[in-house]
């Protein structure tokens, strides 16, 4: 490559930083959604780059189902301390306690879907006019149709058939009172780009992504971690396995991968050899063919 050409990671980075800066300029009260997963960690890293040497000019918000892994809470709190982030925790448990949502029952119950209500309520409560997230278009077919700046009506709903055209790098964040936007700075990144960037920039990520020993069981061909939040059936045998997580979501719906990859190099090799998508282990997407599209229309991430 010649001297005045960017590598693919440099070009993606430049684009994402541009988007984050546009959000900070075009909106009065933006927020970055932070799950503690690698994609939101990357977004936060890019936000720190975008405004250096100033602090990130918006808070980060964790929609906490209360059913996350301990390692994740620990990682989140350390990152906040180290980088002086302003963290808002929006609790799904609180939404349940207030009777705004009803917890699912049964063996496959998950708080994943309940997050939408907590998210929309928090956006209202804090009067956020743009919520940034680490969703990528390569993750899922409905997300492939998503814009960088995605308009939401006053019910927080997405209308995929009626999106604003998005041309060049000109982002239209105009809205009426009560409406808000979702913005996705890393739309054009793939899972591989994310891993390569983590390696290039030496970004810290939760230990859950690296191979470790854990008590697991198998349900619907997916390896699930044994936690206090998930009931096992009598025939589901809990045993120690060497696993790692490819995505990190709520512990009740995130599957693990059997893996010995305990370094970034090994993870990248594993990802490049993998023949399934990272969301293949996500029970929340498997509920139906359009599960993601339906959740997104209602206001999900």
């Amino acid at each position: 490559m010649n001297k005045y050409q960017l590598s693919h990671l440099e070009e993606l980075e430049a684009e994402s930083i541009f988007v984050i800066r546009e959000v900070a300029s075009q909106f009065e009260k933006p927020v970055l959604l932070f799950s503690g997963g690698k994609d939101s960690i990357i977004c936060y890293h890019l936000a720190r780059k975008a405004f250096y040497p100033a602090n990130v000019p918006f808070p980060i918000m964790h929609i906490d189902t209360g059913h996350n892994f301990d390692e994740l809470y620990q990682f989140r709190d350390e990152l906040v301390k180290e980088t002086k982030a302003r963290l808002i925790i929006a609790s799904v448990q609180k939404s349940i306690d207030e009777g705004k949502v009803i917890e699912e029952k049964g063996i496959n119950s998950s708080r994943n879907k309940l997050q939408t209500t907590t998210l929309l309520d928090s956006i209202n409560e804090y009067q956020f006019d743009c919520a940034m997230g680490g969703a990528r278009r390569d993750e899922e077919k409905a997300r492939a149709k998503e814009r960088f700046f995605s308009h939401r009506d006053d019910f927080g709903q997405w209308d995929p058939k009626n999106q604003r055209p998005e041309l060049w790098n000109l982002f239209n964040g105009k809205k009426n009172f009560g409406e808000h936007f979702r913005a996705f700075p890393i739309s054009n990144w793939t899972e591989m780009d994310v891993w390569q960037y983590i390696m290039k920039e030496n970004i810290k990520i939760p230990s859950l992504y690296f191979s470790h020993e854990r008590e697991c069981f198998i349900r619907n061909n997916v390896v699930m971690a044994k936690t206090d939040f998930i009931k096992t059936k009598p025939e589901e045998k809990v045993q120690k396995m060497r696993v790692r997580f490819r995505t990190i979501g709520d512990a009740t719906c995130t599957g693990a991968t059997i893996s010995d990859a305990d370094t970034l190099e090994m993870i990248i090799n594993e990802v490049s050899a993998s023949r399934t998508t990272e969301r293949g282990g996500r029970a929340d997407d498997k509920r139906s063919e359009a599960a993601m599209e339906d959740r997104k229309k209602e206001g999900y991430f």
Binding site: L6, H8, I17, P53, P160, S187, T277
Partner: protein, 420 residues
């Protein structure tokens, strides 16, 4: 592990073709043969194909993301696909073939380095081929590859290919795009997509993937005219950086070096670049399309929407602009109508002064009699602005030469403009 990934670059391309030219099949084939389709995705489309009673796995189903699209078997909206080889990462803007065609193709083309235009080997050039070529050229896409598809249906005959190639060469000499190539393919059978076709020994050129991997894109950005539109002013209210004042933005053109004499527009203040900052690191020079923060030697009052340039190479400062516009709104363009105009990091109000002509998208003739501009129309117009904009010609710079038009009543993006 090799650090090869640090030397990969990025190519964005868009695909265009008439309804049954096999566009989705081609993309499906590229993804499939470059091993970018995963087993769970394959399983999902196998299920969907058999549900619809189709014999072969329908690779086209890969690109239809929304429920309505899968049910109706049509693509509604631009979808983005990703794949990579050890050389390059690719972003594909897959634009639908029928509904809102112009609007979607313009959107996909606006950021593309390259357009693949599919031509059915049995039909040769049709009106749509001309239309797609015109849009690609209008949007300033530097490279066009015509894929002559369905060669299997003309017995992989060399003459069929050469005849279409000759016709296209004649036609495309009128386009602005100069790098134009031709590849005979069969998307459904995979001929000349990733692997060379054994049935077309007469073809001595590269396969499609090889071409995509090797086409020279380093010159696609303007590295001559220095343009730095300011996005944000960085003022850390912290002790270590008490007097720091930086200008954050993405370089739209040229190369900026530490120590360069610069002018800030529209004020016309002169200063020097004191430092170029990325994350806790200073660099000596930066070029398009990098996102950086600049500091200047003088304390100046500048803000978002201003532009840092070199003294001897400045954009035009215009209060009245002439442009080609592609209309995207449901309501027709209203002459004398007031709109918001977004250009780089600037926003002004604008009024459409005059519609000069409309392009007949099928014949490419200028129509001066019917000046009603509806959705999907392309026209040449003039606009008067509330404040001057710092502009270049679109053909010189796709970033400082482009703008969007927003309807103030609906907040919708209703027009895409290319400044002349």
């Amino acid at each position: 592990m090799s650090n090869n990934y640090l030397n990969m670059d990025l190519l964005r391309f868009t695909t265009a073709g008439s309804v049954d030219d096999g566009k989705s099949t081609l993309i499906g084939r590229l993804l499939y043969d470059s091993k970018s389709i995963f087993e769970d995705q394959m399983e999902a489309i196998e299920n969907a194909s058999s549900k619809k009673g189709e014999e072969k796995v329908n690779l086209a189903l890969l690109t239809d993301g929304l429920r309505a699209e899968r049910e109706q078997g049509i693509t509604i909206d631009v979808a983005y696909r990703y794949f990579a080889t050890p050389k390059r990462k690719f972003i594909v803007a897959d634009t639908p073939g029928h509904i809102q065609y112009t609007r979607n193709m313009v959107t996909g083309a606006s950021t593309a380095n390259l357009a693949i235009i599919l031509v059915d080997a049995r039909n040769g050039i049709v009106e749509q081929t001309k239309r797609h070529s015109f849009i690609a050229s209008l949007l300033g896409i530097p490279h066009i590859i015509y894929c002559i598809n369905k060669m299997d249906l003309v017995d992989y005959n060399e003459k069929a290919f050469s005849k279409i190639k000759e016709e296209l060469t004649g036609f495309s000499s009128k386009l602005v795009t100069k790098d134009i190539r031709f590849i005979p393919i069969s998307a459904i059978n995979g001929d000349n997509i990733v692997n060379r076709s054994h049935k077309m020994q007469w073809y001595e050129g590269s396969t499609l993937l090889h071409t995509l991997e090797n086409i020279h894109i380093a010159s696609d950005y303007n590295l001559i005219d220095c343009r730095f539109p300011i996005q944000n002013v960085i003022r850390p209210q912290i002790k270590e950086f008490h007097d720091f004042r930086g200008y954050a933005g993405r370089i739209s053109g040229g190369v900026f070096k530490k120590g360069d004499e610069v002018v800030v527009l529209p004020s016309g203040f002169h200063s020097k670049i004191k430092s170029i900052i990325t994350f806790n690191k200073e660099i000596e020079e930066a070029h398009a399309p990098m996102s950086v923060t600049l500091t200047l030697s003088d304390d100046l009052d500048i803000s978002r929407g201003d532009m840092i340039v070199r003294e001897n190479n400045q954009p035009r400062i215009l209060k009245e602009i002439e442009l080609m516009v592609c209309w995207l709104g449901e309501n027709p363009l209203t002459e004398k109508g007031k709109y918001t105009v977004k250009h780089t990091s600037n926003e002004v109000r604008g009024i459409v002064k005059e519609v000069l002509y409309k392009i007949d998208i099928n014949t490419l003739h200028r129509n001066v009699n019917d000046l009603k501009i509806n959705c999907n129309d392309i026209a040449r117009i003039t606009m008067k602005l509330s404040q001057p904009l710092l502009v270049d010609k679109y053909k010189d710079n796709r970033s400082t030469g482009s703008l969007i038009i927003i309807d103030e009543n609906t907040n919708n993006t209703v027009g895409a403009g290319m400044i002349i």
